[in-house]
């Protein structure tokens, strides 16, 4: 699957915002934040087919496969 670039010129800003959201958190807190973020983003995407495709794309890079 090709995931189109939708961030464009704001990519660096968005990436920095993601990192900044974790400022001052320890690893466990960061994992918890990421989990909340994933849940919130799933709700934002909403379309189960789209979500299934995105999950598969993320899973494809897991080294255990």
């Amino acid at each position: 699957m090709i995931i189109n670039d939708r961030l464009g010129p704001q990519g660096d800003d968005v990436y920095a915002a993601l990192i900044a959201a974790h400022d001052g958190l320890d690893t466990d807190q960061s994992h918890a934040l990421n989990a909340r973020l994933v849940l919130i983003l799933l709700n934002e995407i909403a379309d189960p087919n789209r979500i299934a495709a995105l999950l598969a794309e993320a899973r494809a890079l897991s080294s255990s496969d």
Binding site: H31, A32, A35, R36, V38, L39, I40, N43
Partner: protein, 516 residues
């Protein structure tokens, strides 16, 4: 007050002294499913013999949550009103994470139904009412306690059973054999049928206590569910009211538990006090259990039919065990009666297909609830806990919290007995008030065409008609024109816009297995 477990009388069966005439149906197991099965068949004019190795009702409350559709089926079987009147009706559920309430829900905000969304009633009462109803139908139901079926063999057109009694063994024959023996089904084991599914390692402690006052903040009975309650660190807990001021407490104990030591007063009483404080109480019953979600590949094996937990088991979350079993009975009763009266046996194949579909739905829902409640890995626990935290603020996350998706009537759309793709097709009938009662009282138990307009609806003699009165409930639930064909189990098998006699006849033929 503790329930009085009065034993049912044992009567020496005739087969001990001379061969019995072949029975149309033998039902093995006199639990709620076996008893309901016998009553359903009796109401369709079919005689059965019911064999149970025991002679008392269920010891312990066991299945307590009876869903609206189940109560509607029990209404047809003659015990629904009694169950509703004795039972505790509840609608409000509250969900807690730690000490904080995350959200609450109200199950049936809609008026105009005879039965509420759920009634809580101990299984021993349900069995008592069913036994009494079966005894009232004694010309059709031969109820035999302390008759233990030890063997059976399928001879193609009948099944031969070996039975043990206090007076010794005997044999009997039946055209059909229905296994309604619960999760441990000896019939299933004897036939070495695979029972595949998912086993959960988690132990749960179930306690019934009698309390003088409501532990809820209001006098209205509610369902309270906790994730990580302050009184039971890291686990889940459920508190629910039953009749006679008996309260059900369910506590998750984790996988590394010794069930024997947990089910002792020494261990249980401190757990109860941690929940209810210093209130006096009487410990009524307790049990430690594990469960699995599994089912047979087929529920129909020639002359041997499986219903209820004998055919499929689920985790208790969602109340899909007893309620699922009653839907099996509802589905099978009219079909087996028709087959015994000469209808093609393909009708029994439709029982297999429709109820395996229902069972898949129940297993899917209850396995998901169990997985949510008992996370198997750190990451599962993390997502679960963060869902609970988000839920305090975000409605979308509340919907992801799964402490049991409560039993719903099974939809049978797109299955072979149904005709057409009208959105109502396959659904169970939707109750509505009538001038002199309720729809569920008026039309269940036979093929019935519900007509919605004044067109000239003509039906074969085998179909009843019922003109639904024009009310706001009818408009909202069925519309204003056309007609709806109900099967005897109250499922809608076809909808019509015009009184096309050939189309109605064709739908009826299809629903009775006469045409594929």
């Amino acid at each position: 007050m503790a329930y009085d477990y009065a034993p049912f009388p044992y009567v020496a069966p005739p087969g001990l002294t001379s061969p019995e005439p072949r029975h149309p149906v033998a039902i093995v197991g006199a639990g709620p499913i076996g008893l309901a099965m016998a009553i359903d068949l009796a109401q369709h004019g079919i005689k059965s013999v019911v064999l149970d190795d025991n002679n008392v009702v269920s010891v312990g409350s066991r299945a307590i949550c009876w869903a609206k559709r189940t109560l509607e089926i029990f209404d047809r079987l003659g015990v629904g009103t009694r169950m509703r009147d004795k039972g505790v009706t509840w609608k409000v559920g509250r969900l807690f994470h730690g000490a904080d309430e995350v959200y609450s829900f109200d199950l049936l905000p809609e008026d105009g139904h005879k039965y509420p969304a759920f009634v809580n009633l101990q299984q021993y009462y349900v069995e008592q009412y069913l036994v009494e109803r079966a005894q009232a139908l004694s010309d059709h139901i031969d109820l035999r306690f302390l008759n233990k079926v030890t063997d059976h063999s399928d001879h193609g057109d009948h099944v031969r059973l070996s039975v043990e009694t206090p007076d010794g063994p005997y044999q009997l024959e039946a055209e059909y054999y229905i296994a309604a023996e619960g999760a441990g089904s000896p019939t299933r084991k004897r036939m070495e049928l695979p029972f595949k599914g998912q086993t959960f390692e988690e132990h749960f402690l179930i306690i019934d206590v009698e309390l003088p006052n409501s532990p809820f903040e209001t006098e209205d009975p509610e369902r309270w569910f906790w994730f990580a309650p302050p009184f039971h660190a890291g686990q889940s807990a459920l508190l629910h009211k039953q009749p006679d001021n008996i309260y059900r407490i369910d506590l998750q104990l984790g996988p590394d538990t010794d069930p024997k030591s947990e089910a002792t007063e020494e261990k249980v009483i401190p757990r109860i006090k941690a929940i209810i404080g210093d209130m006096p109480f009487r410990l009524d019953w307790m049990s430690v259990y594990k469960f699995r979600c599994a089912k047979l590949d087929r529920f129909v094996h020639n002359r041997v039919l499986f219903v209820g937990d004998s055919a499929h088991v689920v985790s208790p979350f969602g109340a899909r065990g007893g309620n699922g079993g009653i839907q099996d009975v509802d589905n099978l009763g009219w079909k087996l009666a028709a087959v015994l009266n000469g209808a093609p046996t393909t009708l029994l194949d439709s029982y297999d297909a429709e109820r395996r579909h229902g069972s898949d739905e129940n297993i899917l829902n209850s396995a998901r609830a169990t997985n949510f409640m008992t996370p198997k890995s750190k990451i599962e626990a993390l997502f679960r806990n963060e869902t609970l935290r988000l839920a305090a603020k975000h409605p979308f996350a509340r919907k992801l919290i799964n402490s049991g998706r409560l039993s719903q009537p099974c939809a049978l759309a797109d299955m072979p007995l149904q005709t057409g793709d009208h959105p109502l097709v396959g659904r169970a009938l939707i109750d509505m008030p009538l001038p002199d009662g309720w729809l569920v009282e008026a039309v269940q138990g036979r093929f019935c065409l519900l007509t919605l307009d004044a067109q000239n609806w003509q039906v074969p003699d085998t179909i009843d008609t019922y003109a639904l009165p024009a009310t706001p409930e009818r408009a909202a639930r069925y519309g204003d024109t056309g007609a709806v064909l109900l099967r005897p189990d109250g499922h809608i098998c076809a909808c019509f816009t015009t009184p096309d006699a050939a189309a109605i006849q064709a739908a009826y033929a299809r629903a009775t297995g006469a045409t594929p």
